[in-house]
């Protein structure tokens, strides 16, 4: 990454000095250097590594998709309060971005993903899932239509081999463009205000899942009204080189609105409150699941999975049409455990029998309770469920069985998420 030499003046207060040589001990490496053997660097860094490093008060990092990103920058509680009260900015650059272009890009995607894409307009996005021939989920992600014949699929994990194999017979080009596009996630009730403050005009008119091209501080970026927090939020897609400038500008302009930087732990907590599963955590791609039982169907993961069984041909269609008529063997549900103290949750029990496993758990400040996503056998969903919880006290650990109930709705689902115009100010 090139150091920022042309940033606008007047930002001394932000205390970010990208010219500071001390901050350049290790140059950020978004894309693997072909001259460097892979073992020399087991994690790469994102284009925002230097700015997030400068923001970090904890020096807590986590490995995500081969990149190191901050886990917590200051304090999870503070970051959470900003997310739900004002706004946060986070680096989500490690997401995998795949560009699909060509005359038959639409036909190709229409067969690749389970839902019907006929209504997907240019500059809008939609949540898609894609499955293998047995109807088990390979991955899910956000599909953007950037132009008439150009799409971008954003996923948690790479699916390049599958996408390339599926491209046979279509005039389409599939490329992994992950290492050229950085992504800043701006989430929270004041996120639209922050963008407006940073000079992005008309942002409030953008509908949920819509996207537009804009500029911040002279840097072109693609803004989509997306995010997995159950609230108003935006994702900013920029060239890797521009990302630090955009970050700095947003932080400057948003400071007065209470914008704070946040790390990966908050991303996990927010999507848990919103009840959204993450690939690799709440489910395994069918191609990665060594135990066949670890591969799940869309009907197990989502109560209303985005799929159109009436489409004549799409990957997994044959199996999904059959599965649509069956009761899923298990379901991913959001559980609330009756306990006020954070604890680690593991096994879901019903009448003393293990009927499921917790895949993500956390303490929801919104509910003031432990909540968890768990894959639970459908047959037991009506029963009295409990979950094993472990709490460490001093050198001893205490295990307890906490009663749980299934939350009918996400722990956080604000009307702001889809409101038009998006609220500016609180």
């Amino acid at each position: 990454m090139t150091p920022d030499t042309a940033h606008p003046a007047g930002d001394e207060a932000s205390a970010i000095d990208l010219d500071d040589e001390r901050a350049k001990v290790d140059p950020a490496l978004f894309e693997a250097d072909p001259a460097e053997p892979p073992f020399a660097r087991s994690v790469l860094t994102t284009p925002l590594h230097l700015v997030t490093s400068a923001e970090s008060r904890t020096n807590r990092w986590i490995r995500w998709n081969g990149y190191t990103v901050p886990e917590v920058l200051t304090d999870l509680g503070d970051e959470y309060r900003a997310l739900r009260g004002t706004a946060i900015l986070a680096d989500h650059s490690p997401l995998v971005k795949t560009r699909i272009s060509g005359r038959e890009a639409f036909d190709y995607l229409q067969r690749l993903v389970a839902r019907d894409l006929s209504l997907l307009d240019v500059h809008s996005s939609v949540h898609v899932i894609f499955c293998e021939s047995g109807g088990r989920v390979l991955g899910d992600g956000l599909l953007f239509r950037l132009g008439n014949e150009e799409y971008r699929l954003v996923t948690e994990e790479s699916h390049l081999a599958w996408m390339a194999e599926s491209a046979e017979g279509f005039r389409v080009r599939v490329e992994d463009v992950s290492a050229s596009i950085a992504m800043l996630s701006l989430q929270g009730p004041l996120s639209a205000s922050c963008l407006a403050e940073a000079g992005l005009e008309g942002i409030e008119k953008l509908a949920a899942f819509g996207a537009l091209w804009g500029h911040i501080g002279g840097m072109p970026l693609y803004v989509s009204r997306t995010g997995a927090t159950g609230d108003l939020g935006y994702e900013l897609w920029t060239d890797a080189e521009d990302a630090p400038h955009v970050w700095r500008r947003l932080m400057e302009r948003g400071a007065s609105l209470g914008l704070r930087p946040a790390g990966f732990a908050l991303r996990e907590l927010a999507r848990l409150e919103a009840g959204l599963p993450r690939a690799g955590q709440d489910y395994l791609s069918a191609f990665a699941a060594v135990s066949a039982a670890d591969a799940v169907t869309p009907f197990e993961l989502w109560s209303a999975p985005p799929l159109a069984t009436e489409k004549p041909v799409f990957n997994g269609g044959r199996a999904l049409r059959r599965l649509a008529g069956e009761r899923p063997f298990r379901r991913l549900v959001l559980l609330r455990a009756e306990s006020f103290e954070p604890a680690s949750l593991s096994t879901v029990l019903c009448g003393g029998r293990s009927v499921g496993a917790v895949t993500t758990a956390g303490f929801s400040p919104a509910l003031g309770a432990n909540i968890a996503l768990a894959l639970v056998e459908s047959a037991s969903l009506e029963g009295n469920l409990s979950v094993t919880a472990c709490r460490r006290e001093g050198l001893s650990s205490r295990e307890a069985l906490l009663p749980v109930r299934i939350l009918p709705a996400p722990a956080w689902n604000s009307a702001r998420r889809v409101a038009i115009p998006a609220p500016l100010g609180l």
Partner: protein
Amino acid sequence: MIPENDVFDAIVVGGGHNGLVAAARLAAAGKRVFVAEARASAGGAAVTSEIAPGYAISAVAHLLEGFPRRIERKLKLAKHGLRYAARDVATVALDRDGKHLVLPRSRKQFTAFAEALPKDAEAYRRHVARNRALASLVSPLLGECPPALSDSSALRSFLRRQVLRAAFKGRDVLPELLRVLPEAIGDRLEAEFESPLLKAALAFDATLGGAEGPYSPGTSFRAILREAVRMRGRGVMLPAGGMGAVSDALVAVIAASGGEVHLETEVLGILVEQGRAAGIEIAGGGQVRAPLVFSAVSPRSTMLDLVGARHVETEDLRELRHAVPRGATAKINLALDCLPHIAGLSPELHAARLLVVPSLAELEEAAIASRNGGLPLEPAMEVLLPSVADKSLAPEGRHVMSIIVHNVPGEMNGGWAGHREALLQRVLRRLGDYAPDIPDAVVAGEVLTPLDIDTKYGLAGGDWHQGDIRLDRLFSLRPAPGYGDYEAPVPGLWLCGAGNHPGGGVTGLPGWIAAEAALERWTT
């Protein structure tokens, strides 16, 4: 010439013998059938062609081996003109020193065999008995649709049935079959026999039509499979008028039931509408529509070229994409101005299947050479003089000679130019060792490389089997996992060519079983 707006019950793409059998079966069931054949004559590998004025010969396949009695009877092929010039054609392995070996199929022949090879006679009897025992277990399976892997209860009863049948045949039959499956025929023959000629002849018969050498795992089972195919027919038959007579009879059956066979009708694609096969698109414009489409074209070409990847799921193509048919068998057809004299061979045996085979090691070398795009140093071949039994094929006193050459690569290093002649010379030189008058007796001839067989007769890659008979492509896995029941992943599309169970050879079985399976589905 294509009837507009005509209504057909079924379309068959490809008028090879399997396509014709499927069409004839459907026609016999009262269905209106449309057969589209790209070439000017029907029959595929079962055709008779004239190589010189007055000399007719079976251009590709030259014997009918294991053509099921059931098909012959049900389609009344005899009534439609099929006659035989010879039945139960004998097999003779030629020996350079004139001690030719008749592979015995009768008690009398066995006595002679035992005199010639006293050390191997008992072993041969055991070998044949064991082959028959194993083949009798396999043979019934060749006439039926293999169970789908996805239907566990059908599979369970199928497997249980096989276990019980095997137990009925003898306590060791099942373990023995499982052991033989991955065995190499070369290893087996070495352990059982001493005579190099006998070993080579048996290895040749087991590997002919495939690309693998005798030391390749799975070749032992090919011998069992071949025996099992034979059991379904009435021995090795020579149709009068060449193999084209079989196709002619099939075309006559179709015509008699109101079906149409359209020649020079190239199919550009199979129409898929709302995920279902709906008809075909024909070169020069035009469509023919029918609720059922059968394809006798190779499964790979059917799915990738005619249907197109977009109409099926990604994984439906994964295995097929790599199952490229690659034939390793050439055909040489010669017109001769006299009956060649093979020293030490009795006159009546001149009508037999004559095997010219080098040693086991040379067979293996030839397979390796052919895989690397080279010609075999010592060509192994099956030679037939059909005009000895069928005088109608050549002018009085003259003959035609039909030679199947084993281990000839489809793609020759440096291209085929010049190599056809080299192959012919090698073959003639080798034949000259047995019948010195052959090279001078040739008045006309043609060399068909696997590639020529593809372009002239439409066998993909010149492969008899549209995808080799290998362990991973048998029964429910043939032509690929998910395709074992003849119905393609596109509803309404049925695959009925040699690429499907039970494989190639002029048996009509893939066509027959596909048609029966489709008819059964029709009524239910």
